[in-house]
Symmetry: C2
Subunit: 464 residues, 2 copies
């Protein structure tokens, strides 16, 4: 149902674009599409170094070109030497180019203050969602009665939920506390777990940190509490950490579940089963189209590991050019390298843009009556709450729509801003939200906020 | 078990490579790895035009470079204009870049003598195996009792079989007739179907044409028979046609299932449910590492189509750079284009190589006592039969090995030739085979056949 509403909006967007192309007069000239977490689509530029390395790997004659800096060519040659037949057109090992897997392991250890990481537990996959689905496939027993349950955040992005349900499992929503910046509270985890009694058998907890769509970043203390909880309840911990390099809140930092697990020491560090996901799509790199990510598995039962490995092996290797982007992401140019300055400028530019956009959204949205927004400390999405007037809610229901879908459809039609309604992400009863990507150039964000402001004021008056 | 044997061989190959690197004396200097269908790994060169277009799409500054021909730059620009945000780093539509999907549809109509093709029924996917798995996921009812059955060729490549079994389905092998060039006989399909009675409920027939590993190419008449059979038995037809541009037998041509279905007219052309698979990996293009293929669905029940679409949508889009290779494959440079001559030379070179290699393999293998080989009319593999002496069979069994694994391990150890044993592909009881890729440069094939000849002669003497 929620899916259908989104499909309806996507069709509407195409229809409006078609109208604009035909010259139909609208109060706007283009649609601003922030319905997806897709930075390049929203106008962010790819990182030059990554693209140069991929281009040189693809067409090695470019190694002789003066159009590419030396370190890009050297990295490309190093990677090609590790591809069978020196071609990115060959299959790599199933888990990925072995040397890149080793570099990921070293990256994790660096990131996590020295926490040990075993390359044998790392798999490069065709995107983090693909990896998550395969692991869920092992965890969710399709024949089980009662069904297998997985605790999932509300709000939380919908792909995981769809996968679990599609596999015959049950999702058990736990609600993040909006008033406290979408904080994850362990009492709520307990409530959710209790609610599953007699319904399904919970086997795993899925967390998204930094949040999508909630935009929160968990503190070390919060992560410790979650780890204690899963340890006590013997739940497998699935940590979606794909926005780890998008942290824009002041005095906010990303701390990984793996790091905290290691810091907590035994028995936790030796027993809690953890899968942590990262991706080239959802980071500053923003390369969604290359379809590549990785998962690190920690403390996983060897029998389960074997199953997971079998499932990963079925799909051959992940796209090789995505693996190359991943190699760059976890091992960017270093001081002294020809590309160091540009790489840093470009990534810093994206980070500054995120910080600025997060601030602007917070200020503008909170200045509008009937809208409120928690600080977007991390991730790429704002998820403001819309306090819809009773008349608007009634009108939506008359039309057979969820109230925030009605608001979003109007926003799309009247202001050409394509956001997603909160009803697709699970939200507390009788609360309404919209989600939009804030990873856009600043001028586009200004334009978006301007359109939202005018639209919202008019909407609230129309339904006052 | 068969999987474990292959894993054992792969480990052995790594071990031998390590020894060679350390300077351990062997009768050979390198391993010839023809265990995979991976042309670039085996030394085949990528097609220049495809790589140029991908490089330019990845790093658009190359559009200004004189290193790339005009048509490569134009194609790249045309494709970029169809990527959201003009970046290959954005998600495309789930089914692929819409204009490329339309071009695939036109390609199919051209290939199939005017048979209609609807772009709505075509999905670009992350490899043909991925598409096949998703469709099997819809066809195989996991809860069904008796289990869902799928007729699969023997010999046939193992991924499909593993998928079906992994999903809780049952495979029903039908044997190709080796003595008649691995012909598919409809009486054998009937026998296989009968054998399923009381065991499982057959819902689909899986065919591989050109064959893998069998190397046969079905005639139009044979395809007609198969279509009549599935029509009568109401089976869903899964046609793996990924080797459609690898046809090397004299007076042999590839005819697609779709084409024959269309030629047969009603009721067949309007009722038989067909999924046909193609790929950038397994063709003359040989780009396994890019992970991209497509499937066309014909006459599929709308309710089933909806399920399939939902499954395809779960994984986001397929790798965009693979989609670009696909765009080139189904729409290569045309006469008059700057890249036309080179593209033709390169593809012709690969085709000539295949023709030569197929001939050489046939001659050499059939000249050796205890080995015999059917003509390799199509595909990329030879699958010769090995008539193992009883002493060799006994020795293998004493070691707890399948006899052809024993032969293959010896071939790897003593001659440095890495092939796969026939036991991994299902073969008639008490027959033994080896499979190897013939898509290799000619000098490597000569070396391979030389090594095989010496090894085989010695082996047969040792176990006489």
């Amino acid at each position: 149902m929620k899916q259908l509403e989104y499909a309806f909006m996507a069709k509407l967007a195409i229809h409006i674009k078609e109208q604009l192309r035909k010259g139909v007069k609208k109060p706007y000239k283009t649609i601003i599409d922030v319905s997806f977490g897709d930075p390049h689509k929203a106008g962010v530029k790819p990182l030059t170094f990554a693209r140069q390395v991929i281009a040189a790997c693809t067409y090695p004659k470019l190694m002789n070109s003066d159009k590419l800096p030396l370190d890009a060519k050297q990295r490309a040659q190093w990677l090609l030497d590790r591809c069978p037949g020196q071609s990115v057109g060959s299959y790599t090992a199933t888990a990925g180019i072995p040397e890149t897997v080793h570099k990921i392991s070293a990256f994790i250890t660096r990131r996590d203050g020295g926490a040990p990481s075993d390359p044998k537990n790392i798999f490069i996959t065709a995107g983090s969602q693909w990896a998550l689905m395969n692991i869920l496939n092992v965890l969710v027993n399709k024949q089980a009665s009662p069904r297998t349950g997985v605790l999932t955040p509300a709000p939380g992005h919908d792909k995981a939920v769809l996968s679990i349900v599609g596999m015959g499992g049950e999702t058990i929503p736990y609600y993040l506390t909006e008033e406290q910046g979408w904080a994850l509270q362990v009492e709520e985890l307990q409530r959710a777990l209790d609610s599953a009694q007699g319904v399904c058998k919970p086997v795993a907890l899925y967390v998204i940190n930094p949040g999508n769509p909630a935009g929160h970043v968990q503190s070390r203390k919060s992560i410790q509490e979650v780890i204690r909880f899963v340890s006590e309840k013997r739940l497998f911990l699935l940590a979606d950490e794909v926005y780890q390099d998008c942290v824009q809140g002041e005095n906010t930092e990303f701390v990984s579940y793996k790091r905290v697990l290691n810091e907590m020491g035994p028995p936790f560090s030796e027993t809690v089963e953890l899968a942590s996901f990262h991706s080239v799509s959802k980071s500053v790199m923003g390369e969604c189209g290359l379809r590549c990510g990785y998962v690190e598995l920690v403390n996983v039962d060897p029998a389960v590991m074997k199953h997971i490995f079998t499932l990963f092996s079925k799909g051959s290797c992940s796209p090789v050019l995505g693996q190359i982007a991943l190699d760059v992401m976890i091992n960017p140019p270093q001081p002294g390298d020809p590309s160091y300055t540009l790489y840093n400028q470009e990534t810093q530019h994206i980070r500054d843009m995120l910080i600025q956009n997060a601030k602007r959204v917070y200020e503008v949205v909170n200045s509008l009556p009937g809208l409120s927004c928690q600080p977007v400390d991390g991730g790429a999405f704002a998820f403001p709450r819309v306090f819809l007037p009773p008349k608007a809610i009634k009108k939506a229901k008359d039309l057979g729509m969820e109230p925030d879908t009605f608001y979003s459809v109007r926003l799309l039609e009247e202001a050409g801003v394509f956001v997603r309604p909160g009803c697709g992400y699970k939200q507390k009863k009788d609360t309404y939200h919209i989600r939009f990507c804030i990873m856009t150039p600043r001028d586009m964000m200004d334009e978006l906020l301007g359109r939202l402001t005018s639209f919202h004021r008019k909407f609230m008056m129309d339904f006052a």
